[in-house]
Symmetry: C2
Subunit: 220 residues, 2 copies
DNA sequence: TAAATTAGTTAGGCTAATCTAACAATATAT
DNA sequence: ATATATTGTTAGATTAGCCTAACTAATTTA
């Protein structure tokens, strides 16, 4: 049985490994920063997780999930995303509110609960932010995600996920009436400040920052 | 903000106060036994709860909830019963499975979640065991509950709640096809062993123990 | 390559929640 | 009323998860 805290470390490691692909390991400071603790605290916990066979880690070395650690991390992620979907679909939460509560719900221990929840939600494949939901075997759809910033001017694309899940960004998207599935057309990239002119679902053009364009995943 | 453990103490105290009416206080050992900890542990926690103004308690004296403590306890109970209802109604849990998971879910902190959940469940008044669900103001229906053992032979009554919520009892009820709302008729009480002959929903008579009859709440 | 910077560890301490063992107060029985 | 049993408290220890301060290793820069 894993503690609440141990679970959070595994999930954090999974997240940190899977962003920057080709860099499946993490550092102590990186982990600590992500989890909002001090590096000394992370060192302690990493030793414990190593003892339990959940991470591979040598003093001053890089941190990697073991197969078991990964499996456990994915189980938490599965619960997190299923709960987010529940809150969004069934309880009318907005997509900037779900994460906070799912952070708590993901730690509820009951195999039956998660499987019944999945069934109740009709086996969703993606959470409200467009992230894939692992199935009960830990498998999830692999989707080719392109950043909006990588789309050529003139081209059209469809929003499939958010990279940044902060309230500020999600609320801004809401205001712009951009959601998962919205079709965007890149008009042009302004050379001066690298801001981007986009057309949202066929309406009149709008200017957004490059930071914005770096925070949205789309497919062509 | 209350800790997970503090919440459990308040809920326990609420439970212990409300069973034996005319005895709204509890003892240290009683609390400890109920919570599965040692009396020394309970003493420590009670001092802390007193510090926080949640219980009134003097060394070697009886333990009582303050108004604030009671209010907090009721909020936990509300969540517990709403979650039980959710699991039972929406996720097909059986009534002997819901309690365990609700013990975890009751500690999730989100006012919005509990209120939306209540709405989603269509403002249920009773949980799967027939216990009243406090509303958002902390009020709950007062129901006159009679033990099956107090019903006179010859009389008919309707099951409204279970007093014992153990798996063993609930599964036995299931087997007997007794649920909330089932109509029972007392045929006779056997003098020899005080066992009770009952008719379940009009079917042929059956014999149950006095312990059984002491574990079911009915109304006439 | 030597110095400076960044990353990571260790030692020692704190708090919440638990325990055991010894003790003290209260209640019960003879 | 005294002895006994029950109930509750205290002292001291443990564990998990966190911290700060001081240190060490690894990496980057000049
Ligand atoms: Mn999330
Ligand atoms: Mn979490
Ligand atoms: Mn229950
Ligand atoms: Mn509980």
């Amino acid at each position: 049985m894993l503690s609440y805290t141990e679970e959070n470390y595994l999930k954090a490691l999974l997240k940190l490994s899977s962003q920057n692909q080709e860099k499946p390991e993490a550092g102590t400071n990186e982990m600590a920063a992500y989890l909002g603790v001090k590096p000394a605290t992370a060192t302690d916990m990493l030793k414990k997780l190593k003892e339990k066979g959940l991470v591979s880690y040598e003093k001053y070395g890089k941190i990697l999930l073991t197969a078991i650690g990964r499996q456990n991390g994915i189980a938490i992620l599965r619960k997190h995303r299923l709960w987010e979907t529940f809150l969004y679909e069934k309880l009318d939460f907005s997509w900037d509110e779900v994460h906070e509560v799912a952070e708590q719900l993901e730690h509820i221990q009951s195999a039956k609960l998660v499987n019944k929840l999945e069934e109740f939600l009709d086996f969703p494949e993606f959470d409200p932010h467009g992230d894939p939901i692992p199935n009960s075997k830990g498998e999830m759809p692999v989707v080719i995600k392109t950043l909006l910033s990588e789309i050529e001017p003139g081209a059209t694309c469809r929003v499939i996920a958010v990279k940044d899940t902060s309230k500020a960004f999600l609320q801004y998207l809401e205001k712009l009436q951009i959601t998962i599935g919205t079709v965007l057309k890149i008009i042009e990239v302004i050379n001066f400040d690298r801001s981007v002119n986009i057309q949202i679902a066929g309406s009149e053009a709008r200017n957004v920052s490059m930071k914005f364009a770096d925070s949205l995943f789309v497919c062509r």
